[in-house]
């Protein structure tokens, strides 16, 4: 299993972040593109952080990362601290919902792009268009949506709910997030996993939920 290592304050990730957060839920599409992934969470839960960690991994593989920021609230220093290369990041600030959907679609149609950003309630057919665009371009769409939209219909391949839980009793900035698959295309299990994101030591670890509460850091931290 993958775990993270920290260096110079940048949240280092092993190449297995996608495997942990996506491929485990969608085994038949392991490594493939053309996916629409919804992250449903309430504010402050940590879902966006996990989505951007995935985006960073895709950027390392050579994908262009596009952030659709309609409300101009995206904070690039935090993305840089997560390890994204700002020189290769494109931030699009559309002025209206229609322009935002158009920007999503055009960006996903671009070969192999990873597109991430918040998306409020939109008609279902708009999500269908995004799904088709992602399939056409072979990229990854990471939609950050409020948890109140869980009950709405969606064309996403994977719907993940990020729920914060009480952080482990550790010194330092650390947060624990439960990631539950609400919907998996072609699957029926509602599986979940728990991850710890530790800011100060820049590590991401998978928490073992067997018996004991202590989390298991599966891989060692790089020096």
């Amino acid at each position: 299993m993958g775990a993270a290592a920290g260096r110079d304050g940048v949240l280092e990730l092993s190449a297995e972040c996608r495997r942990v957060l996506v491929d485990e839920f969608l085994p038949h599409s392991s490594g493939a593109g053309g996916l629409l992934i919804e992250w449903l969470s309430r504010g402050g839960a940590g879902g966006a952080t996990l989505a951007f960690l995935l985006a960073r991994e895709e950027q390392r593989r050579g994908a262009a990362v596009v952030v659709i920021d309609r409300h101009r609230e995206f904070y690039p220093p935090a993305a840089a601290a997560l390890g994204l290369d700002l020189a290769e990041l494109i931030v699009v600030c559309p002025g209206s919902q229609n322009d935002a959907l158009w920007a999503w679609e055009q960006s996903l149609r671009s070969r192999g792009a990873t597109v991430v950003g918040p998306l409020e309630q939109v008609p279902v057919h708009a999500l269908r268009r995004l799904k088709l665009a992602a399939e056409h371009g072979g990229g990854l769409a990471l939609l950050l949506r409020p948890s109140r939209l869980q009950a709405t219909a969606s064309w996403a391949d994977l719907r993940l709910a990020a729920t914060p839980t009480a952080s482990p009793d550790r010194v330092g900035l650390c947060r624990r997030v439960r990631v539950e698959a609400l919907y998996v295309r072609g699957g029926f299990d509602r599986r979940s996993l728990v991850v710890d994101i530790t800011d100060e030591t820049a590590s991401l670890s998978l928490v073992s939920e067997l018996a004991d509460r202590a989390s298991a850091d599966v891989a060692t931290r790089a020096s």
């Binding site: 260096r7 110079d8 304050g9 940048v10 969470s41 309430r42 504010g43 402050g44 839960a45 940590g46 879902g47 966006a48 952080t49 951007f52 994908a63 262009a64 596009v66 409300h71 101009r72 609230e73 995206f74 904070y75 690039p76 220093p77 935090a78 993305a79 840089a80 601290a81 997560l82 290369d85 700002l86 020189a87 990041l89 494109i90 931030v91 699009v92 600030c93 559309p94 002025g95 322009d99 920007a103 055009q106 960006s107 671009s110 070969r111 192999g112 792009a113 918040p118 729920t163 914060p164 839980t165 009480a166 952080s167 900035l173 947060r175 624990r176 997030v177 800011d199 100060e200 820049a202």
Partner: protein, 474 residues
Amino acid sequence: MVAACCRAARRAGVRAGIPLAEAKALCGVGTDEAALPRFLPEDPPADRKALQRLAWDCATFSPLVGIEDQERPSSLLLDISGCGACFGGEPRLARQLQESLQTRRYYVRIGISDTMGTAWAVAHFQKRSQTIRIVPAGEQEQVLRPLPIEALRLSPPAVEKLHHLDIRQITQLLALPRRSLPSRFGEELLLRLDQALGEVPETIVAERRPVPIREVWESDCPLQEAAALDVVAALLVERALEKLQQRGEGLLELHMLLQGDGESAHRPLSLLRPTSDGRHVMGLLRLWWERFPLPRDITRVEIEVVEAATLPAAQQQLWPDDDDCGPETHGLIEKLSSRLGRRAVLRPQICAEQQPELAFGYESCIESARSAKPSESEPSAYRFLLSRPLWLKREPAPVQVWCIVPDGPPYRFSRRGEEQTVARCWGPERITTGWWRGTHVRRDYYHVETAAGCRYWLFRDWEQGGWFLHALFD
């Protein structure tokens, strides 16, 4: 190797020709005290292009402006014969020229003489404190004598040969028998000497601004349908691109103007890279008129090429290269910019600022791609940024906070009528900055985690008073 450096770098000891690693060490890269210097790759074609634009703009001062004939030119040559009278004398002309270029942040040194060689020599080798030097008529030899031999624009091998013989000043050269110079040092030395003294004339090859390309369609029968506009625009674009191709250039920026029925619409179109692909240009133009209202009954369509650049050489391929992702991103940026505007498609940049909302800035992707890329910021610049949120509210929202001690951390806060109990809290992180801007900022930031596990970024504002929510750690 360092090709050139600014004054601040020279003060630190950097010189042209030293290794880059040594330059970085001298500039203090990697230490916390130094400001981050910028290391840019040398780009001789871009430098020449910039010099060419300056030459075009200097036509205000002389009808004949050229660029020196060197491999890496850095000087402009102006024939100001008779032009001094228009400016109140040559000294005033020189001062106005200097001010005009200094407003563009160029460091300018000017030499004026009857001969090009002497003017070049005094511009390059006079005292640093003297940025304008006018050589009186007939005094070229007197002025040249104390200058080093490099002032004669000799090639490096010729200079090296003279140095080897310990000939370092022009006065030493003038002391040698003239007839012996070609046989000992080649024709170049005597030619340069004669050019500087006015014995051999020199010509300036003028740099002329290219005739702007403007294609116009006008008719008494107005265009009323988008399909008709499409046909006309495609024709004009094709003509413009043909003319550019004849110059070996591609389109970088054009302006399109549509007029009709008392109204007009104007749209600039910018590209990341020069192109001669009419279909691509038309695709971007269509994104504009499909979205924005156009004049009814269009009677005039005008396309003006604002900027062009040399087309890069590319090998033709029979089959597209699936591994090449570069042009796809460029096409995406151009498409997004065409419809949403240049100011909506951005590249973020980190600024050295403590105040969170000022710690970054944006540059349009198209401008960013055209300007030289700066070096990457050192990872240590992000050392304390790990605890920053991905989404920052544009305006901090006031919240009601309860603290156990008056100046202590929050233990409960109310947001949107909902009270939240703080389970864990980190801070304060004090940010005090901005006094030089006139608005002093003094804030104590706290990372706050509620019992439900949600993370908030609150701050107490010591200047305005009160508590504010700046972000959620999503």
